[in-house]
């Protein structure tokens, strides 16, 4: 909805305008702590700590490695016990462990390895439904805390695939949800294609990918977070397009396949419930991604649920998932 407004207004501006590149001088910037924390039912928690970087400072593989915050004291308390997380860098881990981190964080294994990710995690605590978790981070004498709740999972009634009008084999995954009326429900949608590439494609462009699983992890398309404002207590059907890894070079993430699932795909839908503050963070976060660069969006601050001695960015989010398998045919 919002995307359409933004696109159309952008069109107006671009059409009437001349554009030129200019130099801008921004004021001196003081870095902030960025917390990307995830805890999911039956999964280990994963916290990524990084720093923000001035807008015109260079970002490449080397400077990226410098963004990670090391030697922080990170603890999670689930109401009965408190566990301190250990810092693990990708180079120290086995490929299975890297996969687990990838699933938990939503970052592909290539990125994790290529950018020398370091994460804080623990094997001693797994997420549980209807539990509240408190995260605390201490670094260089400063302290931050955050709270999130893994709510009760609300499963979809059903999920299926439908070919898109005018297409032969391409389409979207549809789902039916009965939203409970009693409280405000907040959701996030993920999808993963677990089948492998088995065709070279029209011009052989998929050749290098043959034998590889199409998606290594659950991918959330932009707009994946939503609440029940429009359908509280209602059963309704909806669909999602296929999200993609940022900066994906894969041919099926480009026209004319981008956004579509294909007949023959096996898709696992991860439909998760999240708490209110997590939803508020994610919806503004996704909105900002969708409108990057548009003057018609307001420059907003994404409402973080991290509090502390100094302002921090990011959020700590708990997921209560339900899983559904869809065979596309």
């Amino acid at each position: 909805m919002r995307k359409i407004i933004i696109i159309s207004l952008l069109v107006l501006a671009v059409v009437f305008s001349c554009r030129k590149q200019i130099d801008i001088e921004l004021p001196e910037y003081k870095e902030k702590l960025v917390v990307e924390g995830v805890i999911e039912t039956d999964q280990i928690p994963v916290i990524i700590l990084t720093k923000s970087v001035g807008y015109f400072d260079p970002i490449n593989a080397e400077t990226f490695a410098n963004l990670f915050v090391h030697d922080a004291i990170v603890k999670i308390n689930d109401g009965t016990k408190e566990v301190q997380l250990i810092e693990l860098c990708i180079s120290d881990l086995s490929s299975d462990q890297v996969d687990a981190i990838s699933q938990a964080t939503g970052i592909s294994t290539e990125e994790l390895v290529g950018l020398s990710y370091c994460v804080y995690t623990t094997p001693f605590m797994l997420g549980e439904n209807e539990t509240t978790y408190t995260l605390s981070v201490e670094h260089e004498g400063k302290k931050w805390t955050s709270t999130t709740t893994i709510p009760k999972p609300i499963p979809l009634d059903s999920a299926w695939f439908e070919v898109f009008e005018g297409e032969d084999t391409l389409g979207f995954v549809w789902a039916k949800l009965s939203d409970p009326a009693a409280e405000t429900n907040n959701y996030r949608w993920f999808a993963q294609r677990i089948n492998k590439y088995n065709e070279p494609g029209k011009n052989g462009e998929l050749e290098p990918y043959i034998g590889l699983q199409k998606d290594n992890r659950f991918i959330a398309p932009i707009g994946s977070a939503f609440d029940d404002k429009f359908f509280n207590g209602i059963s309704f059907e909806f669909n999602y397009y296929r999200g993609e890894e940022p900066n994906s070079a894969k041919p099926d993430d480009h026209e004319p396949f981008s956004g579509f699932f294909e007949v023959g795909d096996t898709v696992i839908v991860k439909f998760a419930s999240i708490d209110r503050k997590s939803y508020l963070y994610l919806t503004v976060f996704e909105d900002q991604i969708a409108t990057e660069g548009s003057p018609f969006a307001s420059p907003s601050t994404i409402p973080t649920n991290i509090e502390g001695d100094e302002p921090a960015l990011g959020a700590f989010i708990g997921y209560a998932p339900s899983f559904h398998t869809v065979i596309c045919k």
């Binding site: 919002r2 069109v11 902030k32 900066n247 969006a297």
Partner: protein, 798 residues
């Protein structure tokens, strides 16, 4: 006993004096068209006392019995002068003749008006439409609202922005009236043109400080625009054909000297504007933009004491864009419709009444289709308004006005329907907001003595939000806690405002004066803009129990001086404004939040101030005329929820603003006009940093409005050629007579943005590439709108 006697004496003496006073009253009109003239001076030379004609051209002067020389004077016309033997009440309607030659360098000294020095209106400027027409205009379309922005204290919102700012106030703080009807969105094409067709207008009055008590409802300014009544003597027309639009105005009597009409229309050409829009692929077929407006007015003089006017305006913009390849289509129609029915009645030659019934409507719709997905948004405001205004001239020292105003508002801030294929989304009921707004006022313009004149008034206003209404009560996480339903006509919230207004003028020697003003204003309806650029999709909404009325207090002081016997006018004005209950969207509010919710749940409130100094120098008479205006101003805001509660520069802060407007009449045939404007760049909130989340680069924004774009400056030029009014008519091979042409025409060649400066419209920062691959790059781009734009317009008159 003594007290009673003295009272009796006072009463008797008043009665005795009153018996010896008589009133001259009547209307001042243009001799050739019959149009009434507003603001003409009617005074008695011996006493240098008199009155000015009101909005309907009516004046009334009460004096002791005697012989006087009565002078009626108005800019652009020859004086009227007559001796009056005043021994009973006289009805005197005066017809003024247009000045024989506007370019006379030496206009009779005494004829030059000094209204800017003598009037109490501070911060009031009357624009002469005839002068405006000589100035260069964008695409050749003469625009009153653009010309207002060349005056000090009035700043443009920037190219492409619909509104303008007066003394640091936002676009919704300007009350724009067309024949007393409120015009909510006075712009076509996102602010490139205004909805006012200059051919249909008579008078434009801008009040930016010292707003008298008969106006209210907005904090920053009043732009009071009067349409022509229509030539009551003969039929005429005028119009023009231009590159972008054409217009035609027809006027004439219905019954000679008793009733007349004027109809004026304007429309753009689809082709010219859509050509750049439609790129090489025909996939964009069906994309277009056009606007039209229609002004119509009729009036009827029922009797010596009564006159009726009926005016209407109807305008529409429609923008459509199709991208057939992407199955994407949008259509955005918007526009105003206003009607006013007015009745002038003279109770006596001292008491004038005008009662007006007004209907005003503004709405816009946004319709988008993407494949199966269909989305419609509608927003509008509709007013039913009844007002009555009395002007009372008890004697030559007092000019009293009082009256009452009632408006019934119907707001539809957001009405959305959306469906995907066959599934209709539940976008909730359309929440319509009903409100009553009312005011009563009284003011007196009092000539205390020869130097001191005071305009003091009080306006008492009221605003009431009434049901039916559905209130979504939210907690601080944005979740709906409960819903309250209010019944029809149930009082939900009432506000009262006491608005004292004071303006003082003290005459000094050498054609100069000092003026001071104090005004306290309430504003009950507001415009919310979710983006940093104002668009026709901004929503009008009223005060409610969550949204308090905006309050403004303004102090102003000015020194006015004319030189060389009123040939040059100059002034310096300083002002300070305090603003309260200002409104912004909450951080991270999104348009869809308004659906199935109340608009005011998305808002946050704060305060602000603005101050500045305005310098103005004008030459009104002669071949070479024009003005220079310079404003230095500052305006800031403070909201607890925005910018961490720290004060920040308002987006209406434009530190320096300079306008130079010049017109030169070479001779009867040729005149040229030029405009140069310079203003400090607008403020912006820019990103200051990146951070990573879910493997995406997200921008962090800096302090609100902490960045300034480069200054805006531009020069325009216009060249006007008046075709000869007479042509040769050959009687035989050797002789001819000069015959007046039936159609007189003018060719205007104008150039907008003469030196092709790329003025910034906005700046955006963006990134490209992949950090892993080492080609990640951030860059800043500046988008500009108008390059050098020449145009040609052929104007005609008959």
């Amino acid at each position: 006993m003594r007290k009673n006697l003295s009272i009796l004496f006072i009463i008797i003496s008043n009665f005795v004096f009153a018996q010896n006073k008589f009133t001259i009253s009547g209307y001042v009109k243009d001799a050739s068209s019959g149009e009434v003239l507003l603001g003409a001076s009617v005074f008695v030379e011996e006493l240098m006392q008199g009155a000015t004609t009101n909005q309907y051209g009516f004046y009334s002067v009460t004096l002791p019995k005697g012989n006087y020389t009565l002078v009626v004077r108005f800019f652009g016309y020859d004086d009227y002068r007559d001796t009056i033997n005043l021994e009973k009440d006289i009805r005197l309607n005066v017809q003024l003749n247009q000045e024989s030659s506007v370019m006379e360098e030496v206009v009779v000294e005494a004829e030059r008006t000094n209204q800017n020095v003598a009037g109490t209106e501070m911060g009031t400027i009357q624009l002469e439409v005839s002068q405006v027409k000589k100035l260069p205009a964008l695409f050749g379309e003469v625009d009153i609202l653009k010309t207002i922005q060349y005056l000090p204290g009035v700043q443009s919102g920037g190219e492409g922005n619909t509104g303008f700012y007066v003394r640091g106030g936002g676009p919704d703080q300007n009350l724009i009236l067309l024949d007393e009807a409120t015009v909510y969105n006075a712009s076509h094409l996102f602010g490139f043109f205004s909805v006012f067709n200059a051919d249909a207008l008579k008078d434009v009055n801008l009040i930016k400080g010292g707003m008298p008590a008969n106006y209210g409802g907005r904090l920053s300014s009043v732009i009071d625009i009067s349409m022509k009544d229509g030539n009551s003597k003969s039929y005429h027309g005028e119009g023009g054909i231009g590159l972008i639009a054409s217009r035609l105005t027809l006027e004439g009597p219905i019954v000679k000297d008793q009733s007349s009409f004027i109809v004026s229309g304007r429309r753009t050409y689809i082709d010219v504007l859509t050509k750049p829009l439609i790129s090489d692929t025909s996939a964009f077929a069906g994309s277009s933009y056009y606007f039209y407006d229609l002004n119509a007015k009729a009036n009827y003089i029922l009797s010596d004491k009564d006159r009726l006017y009926l005016s209407g305006y109807f305008g529409r913009d429609v923008f459509t864009f199709n991208d057939n390849a992407a199955q994407f289509k949008i259509r955005i129609p918007w526009g105003n419709a206003t009607t006013s029915l007015r009745w002038n009645h003279l109770f006596s030659d001292k008491l004038f009444l005008n009662t007006t019934a007004i209907f005003s409507d503004y709405n816009f719709a946004f319709e988008a289709t993407q494949g199966q997905f269909d989305f419609k948004l509608f927003s509008g405001i509709r007013d039913w308004n009844l007002k009555t205004d009395f002007t009372y001239f008890p004697n030559v020292r007092h000019n009293i006005k009082f009256g009452a105003n009632y408006i019934f508002h119907i707001f539809t801030p957001t009405s959305v329907t959306a469906k995907s294929g066959e599934t209709e989304f539940d976008t909730g009921d359309i929440v319509i907001i009903y409100a009553n707004e009312a005011a009563i006022y009284a003011l007196d313009e009092y000539d205390v003595n020869e130097q001191l004149k005071i305009n003091a008034g009080l306006r008492v206003s009221m605003f009431q939000h009434i049901g039916p209404f559905k209130r979504f009560v939210k907690n601080n996480l944005g979740e709906t806690d409960s819903i309250i339903n209010f019944e029809k006509f149930e009082n939900i919230k009432t506000y009262f405002g006491f608005e004292p207004r004071l303006a003082i003028r003290y005459l000094l020697p050498d054609e100069s004066s000092i003026k001071a003003g104090y005004t306290h204003n309430y504003q009950y309806i507001h415009l919310s803009s979710i983006s940093s650029v104002s668009l026709p999709t901004d929503l009008w909404f009223p005060s409610t129990e969550i949204v308090k009325p905006q309050i403004g207090t303004q102090y102003s002081l000015g020194y006015f001086r004319n030189f060389f016997d009123n040939k040059y006018e100059s002034s310096v004005e300083v002002y300070y404004k305090n603003l309260d209950n200002l409104i912004e969207y909450k951080n991270a509010a999104q348009p869809e939040d308004n659906v199935n919710d109340n608009v005011d749940n998305q808002l946050t409130f704060g305060r602000g101030y603005s101050y500045g100094a305005e310098f103005f120098f004008k030459k009104r008479y002669g071949k070479f005329n024009g003005w220079i205006g310079y404003t230095w101003s500052k305006t800031e805001r403070q909201f607890d929820d925005i910018n961490l509660g720290e004060w920040f520069l308002s987006k209406y802060d434009i530190r320096h603003d300079l306008s130079v407007v010049l017109a030169y009449d070479f001779n009867e045939r040729v005149s040229v006009g030029g405009v140069f404007v310079y203003s400090t760049g607008s403020t912006l909130t820019l990103p200051v940093a990146y951070y990573i989340y879910e493997n995406r680069f997200i921008t962090e924004f800096g302090d609100r409005n902490s960045y300034r774009m480069i200054p805006y400056h531009r020069a325009d030029f216009a060249f006007t050629y008046n075709f000869p009014e007479y042509r040769r008519k050959w009687v035989n091979k050797c002789n001819f007579t000069m015959v007046e042409r039936k159609i007189k025409s003018t060719l205007v060649v104008s150039v907008y943005n003469l030196y092709n400066r790329a003025n910034p419209y906005f700046i955006y920062l963006t990134n490209s590439g992949d950090p892993l691959a080492g080609n990640f790059q951030t860059s800043a781009f500046q988008v500009s709108l108008f390059p050098i734009l020449p145009s040609v317009t052929w104007n005609f008159k008959f």
